[in-house]
Chain length 454, copies 2
């Protein structure tokens, strides 16, 4: 008992400001474009889709710190600060000289880090007098988080849930309904975008890209309604920086500083959250730290995609975003890490990749589940299949440290737990899961369709 | 942000000793009897079934405090101390002058308080050189906890899971399997007790009583194997006192002392855990505090059962226990709070009921789910259907405080979360749940079968 396992902060240490890495980046991301005029967007252009304050945050390149409203901090108190944990048992199982820490965002009542931005987005919508919001959800983590956030701030919410998840994850749907949200399987007949896809591909199992199209369409056609998104966008990454800001203080309590920081990667929300606050020391003070985005091998936009302007959704309703992408028509394999099945990376992360501030690895599905089970059997927590990608990457780093005989401090973000994803573990234990080989040809096919703007 | 929501203790404040209320009780429970000879049992008589140290703890009437082994405390560090939380949002929704606190045991990595005893039991078995253990599980909370505890201490585990839960809660089964346990639906063909019931009642959906019979039988017939139990027994209540011991310090941090303390009630493990440490001040110093066990109305042993010697299991393999019981042949309705579907109360709690140190209420199923949803929508945490009974009782107390216009401090134990129980909430939201009326006739029928020893 002499060693500390969990590093805890008091509630007074919940950050009072989010960190806006845009202000510090030596090369800003290229502008977001109006797809018709190809002109850079101003915040006002986003007002019909997003709450005004969120639109301003999205394009704020100058303020390094943005105040967290008291009402949001008050709700953060429900679960924040989250613990930083030293994974002694995992280290022992790996027989590694590396020290492994994880930030445990799975203690959020909705089971993942997604609540950090959901509360902020619901708050700003409410404050503006908006009564209805829409969103999409893949794995269900974002939809669950927003359902609770909408309920607690008194908003009506409609969630388009990717059809395959709707069917594979009935408990996720139940959670959203228990928190009062309306949940619709996507593609649905309730939107033009949905009807078009259903007509052309009657058995289509849905994708995040399609669900986003439907949610935006509904928002635009409903009075006093806005759309919200759980990843990819700059303001989402901004809100998630509470993760890294807390972790920074907690690593100090542990008397260490991470050599490598890892987050799983879908659109970038949890990776940004754990990384950006540390990265400000790399950008501003030249501190040497490695930042690793852990992608699924079946959806590898950072490791195998192209950097190009692309739509954020399948139907092409969003502005054009400069990003690493597999093409908005890319149909990712039906891996169980549904939250990582997205064709593109956020614009900030994409620019940081270009500027070599960070790196990416791709993890085969089976390696991710092996890592998840080892983590559960040593540290006790059943990780979300998404988070298992970060664990797998951390395990690779820890094994390398052992091979090289060097001490290394590894920090990864445990973005969520897997209690609602046990069907996936069932299949893994039964030996029914496979890796998905992704041919260069199929990547070329969807990226080849992109209009060349860069 | 001036008010504190979560009261946290550092790891150094994890209790170093469990509190043994048996030492303080003015009237000790009547002795446990050998069913053949009707003679009181000595610890040695229990050695074939339980680890020796657990057998001694079971009958220890003299030591007020029992040291927690360092190896167990070391594993407690994974999740303990758990937070004490002020339920401000629930208070607001109820518009009550009452202050409501809950001890959040749902943050345990297995999702409930059950890990507090699972770790202790697995440790003592391992220390004695035992290689295999067996147990039963109803809702799956205990089986899940023991699966992780067995894995981390290196024991092989077989779990008999009540058949209806096995089928209704596939994710619970998956969790146990992910942690390496063998899970068998009960009744099964693997034991004499199981075969007998299947032969007589081919469609029997199982009960905790039957699953206990099977687990004991397998333990007795397997070399170097012992049985473990997640509730009812004295040593389980002992281990669970870490809950109340921490809560006592945390209430002090909050500057309040509870007027009423509430736990849901199946066999008594979490109720004992939250109550006993506070009750020592009632017993020893006359401190006025109310202690409420919240039962399901469909399985009301404390409110409507008889005080009588009875078996702990359906087949009659256990010693005779002096307890409030509905009769070991009582077949509780298939309510979703599977962890509360047990015919009897532990001997300590039964004696405390007789001596009027505590009280009990019974909660209809629908009231429990209404309470669960209100809690989820205000405090964010989806409670286990079992824990929702404690919430319902706390809400009754808070409403009463409002009616009477008095300030009251309420503390309840949130024994677990409901992420793996969403099918139940689905049915509730769909309006498909009912209350179960339990006739006096059916209680008389099973209690009338009991051999009259008291």
């Amino acid at each position: 008992m002499s060693k500390t396992k969990k590093f805890l902060l008091p509630e007074a240490e919940i950050p009072t400001q989010w960190y806006n890495i845009l202000a510090d980046m030596p090369n800003k991301p290229k502008p977001i474009l109006n797809p018709g005029t190809k002109q850079p967007l101003k915040p006002e252009d986003l007002y019909p889709i997003f709450a005004e304050e969120l639109s301003r945050q999205e394009l704020n390149m100058s303020d390094q710190w943005i105040d967290i409203p008291e009402e949001v901090r008050d709700k953060y108190m429900i679960y924040r600060p989250t613990p930083l944990v030293r994974a002694y048992n995992l280290e022992k199982a790996l027989d590694t000289p590396a020290h492994i820490y994880f930030k445990n965002e799975s203690v959020s009542p909705v089971g993942s880090h997604k609540l950090n931005s959901a509360l902020a987005q619901a708050y700003y919508c409410k404050k503006q007098g908006i009564t209805n919001i829409t969103t999409e959800t893949g794995a269900g983590q974002w939809g669950t988080a927003l359902s609770f956030a909408a309920k607690i701030f008194g908003l009506e919410l409609a969630v388009y849930m990717v059809k395959i998840s709707y069917e594979q994850k009935p408990y996720r749907r139940s959670l959203m309904q228990a928190w009062g949200a309306q949940v619709i399987a996507s593609p649905s007949m309730s939107t033009k975008a949905g009807r078009k896809i259903i007509t052309e591909h009657p058995n289509y199992q849905g994708s995040l890209g399609t669900a986003i199209s439907e949610a935006i369409e509904l928002a635009l056609q409903t009075s006093n309604c806005r759309y919200t998104l759980g990843s990819v966008l700059n303001h989402v990454s901004l809100h998630q920086t509470v993760i890294g800001l807390e972790a920074e203080k907690q690593m100090e309590m542990a008397g260490e500083y991470p050599d490598v920081i890892i987050g799983c990667f879908g659109g970038g929300s949890n990776f940004s959250g754990i990384s950006f606050p540390f990265m400000r020391h790399t950008i501003n003070e030249g501190r040497k730290t490695r930042y690793i985005a852990a992608e699924p091998a079946s959806c590898p936009k950072l490791t195998r995609g192209v950097f190009q302007y692309d739509f954020g959704d399948e139907a092409g309703y969003t502005p054009l975003l400069p990003m690493f992408t597999l093409g908005h028509n890319f149909a990712p394999a039906h891996i169980h890490a549904g939250g990582l099945r997205y064709h593109g990376a956020g614009t900030i992360v994409s620019q940081l990749m270009l500027d070599k501030y960070m790196e990416a690895v791709d993890i085969p599905q089976i390696e991710s589940f092996e890592a998840g089970i080892l983590f559960a059997q040593t540290e006790g927590i059943m990780p979300a299949p998404e988070s298992a990608h970060a664990i797998a990457s951390a395990i690779r780093e820890a094994k390398q440290a052992k091979e090289e005989g060097v001490k290394k401090t590894i920090l990864f973000n445990l973005s969520g737990h897997g209690f609602v994803d046990m069907a996936a573990y069932d299949q893994f234990i039964a030996g029914d899961l496979t890796n998905y080989e992704l041919s260069q040809e199929s990547i070329d096919k969807t990226t080849g369709l992109l209009e060349k703007i860069i």
